[in-house]
Symmetry: C2
Subunit: 227 residues, 2 copies
């Protein structure tokens, strides 16, 4: 379920601030979603709540971590170390529990040999050799669109099981490989669409939420509207 990572982050903050138990109503408020939805989402993991008092925050967090596979080790290879690739290599989400940046690649000679957070940037020509010892489970494509399919093909051949693509290009991968796309210009165009269709801004929020109460917008439903 796409909302588990949101609950995970909220629970992490709660646990760190010393909260012992949390109700679905509280989590819903913080995530900006419906309490029924929170309970439905969490019941997907099993019956971890206690009627009358709520959920044990720490235990729930452990269960979500396990469900998300964050107790595993996912080596991540990033190809294309421009500003975006560099941002990703440095992002907390890419270096935190579960994930490990295992290899970086580019074709720019001045970049090859330099390091980002201790990981050396290799030339794309050395891709197969560089990943052989520590094959990445996840490949991240942050190249220009023209190179994206080629890079994806090499990742797939090297055994990568999932690809996160930031290039504005439709990619083709075999059925066994998971592909997710993030396109920053599409986000901007979705906003443009909503702005054009609501004279005074508006509560469009991707059309995912009721207009008068609750959160506005966002693919992850992270926002809360003020009352």
């Amino acid at each position: 379920m796409a909302r588990l990572p949101i609950y995970q982050r909220l629970l992490l903050e709660l646990v760190r601030s010393g909260t012992r138990t949390v109700s679905s109503e509280q989590l819903a408020q913080m995530a900006g979603v419906n309490a029924s939805k929170v309970r439905k989402d969490l019941s997907f993991l099993g019956s971890f709540g206690t009627r009358g008092s709520g959920y044990d925050a720490e235990y729930l967090l452990t269960q979500i971590d396990r469900e998300l596979g964050l107790d595993g080790d996912w080596p991540v290879a990033i190809v294309g170390i421009g500003n975006l690739g560099r941002a990703l290599a440095n992002a907390p989400g890419f270096t935190s529990r579960g994930f490990r940046v295992s290899a970086l690649f580019d074709v720019e000679p001045s970049l090859v040999g330099t390091r980002v957070r201790g990981v050396p940037i290799c030339h794309l020509d050395e891709f197969e050799a560089a990943v052989a010892a520590d094959p990445p489970a996840i490949g991240v494509i942050a190249t220009p669109p023209a190179d994206a399919q080629h890079v994806a093909d090499r990742m797939v051949r090297a055994g990568t099981r999932a690809i996160l693509n930031f290039a504005s290009r439709v990619l083709t991968v075999p059925a066994g490989v998971l592909l997710r796309n993030v396109d920053l210009s599409i986000e901007l165009q979705v906003i443009s669409f909503h702005l054009s269709h609501h004279e005074e801004g508006g509560d469009a929020g991707g059309g995912l939420v009721p207009p008068t109460v609750g959160p506005v917008g966002g693919p992850y439903g992270l926002a809360r509207a003020e009352q």
Copy 2:
């Protein structure tokens, strides 16, 4: 509709390569979606197709551009010019038709006064003064999570009608302001979830598509699976 930007990009390529007409079946193949869905999406704009032959690519592109508001002028202000902010300021999607990077902000003294693509980076303290002459329609937040809400508040006070938030923090905005969130670590966690639940990779694709045919994965449905 969230797929219009995908059709827009595909049509732009088709028109540039000289294609005159395109069928819903062709567009569906290229976008990795169902042909019925394409026709349904396009009929939302009006009846622009011709039975028996398909859609006039150039005319359809014009209509989609208009629907997406790409014939307008959307000034974009970016706060937080780290690697991510810099990548965004340079991204084609942020400088192409419809959008214009109008102002950049950071709090790092060594950055203030430098330029990205000709746009000077101002100190965040000067935000109100800097945007007064050319108020941004869209604000982009690429700051650390701790600063995100503060920046959002200032954007809203300055009249920004939409915010694109890249910080891993739930933001609160008034009901009239459109908020969209992009969280890179959530994308990774979604992948981790699917990898943990499918021993041999798998065609999970966000669970949005049938397993044996058609596209895999991605919030935008950009991918095509090989047959």
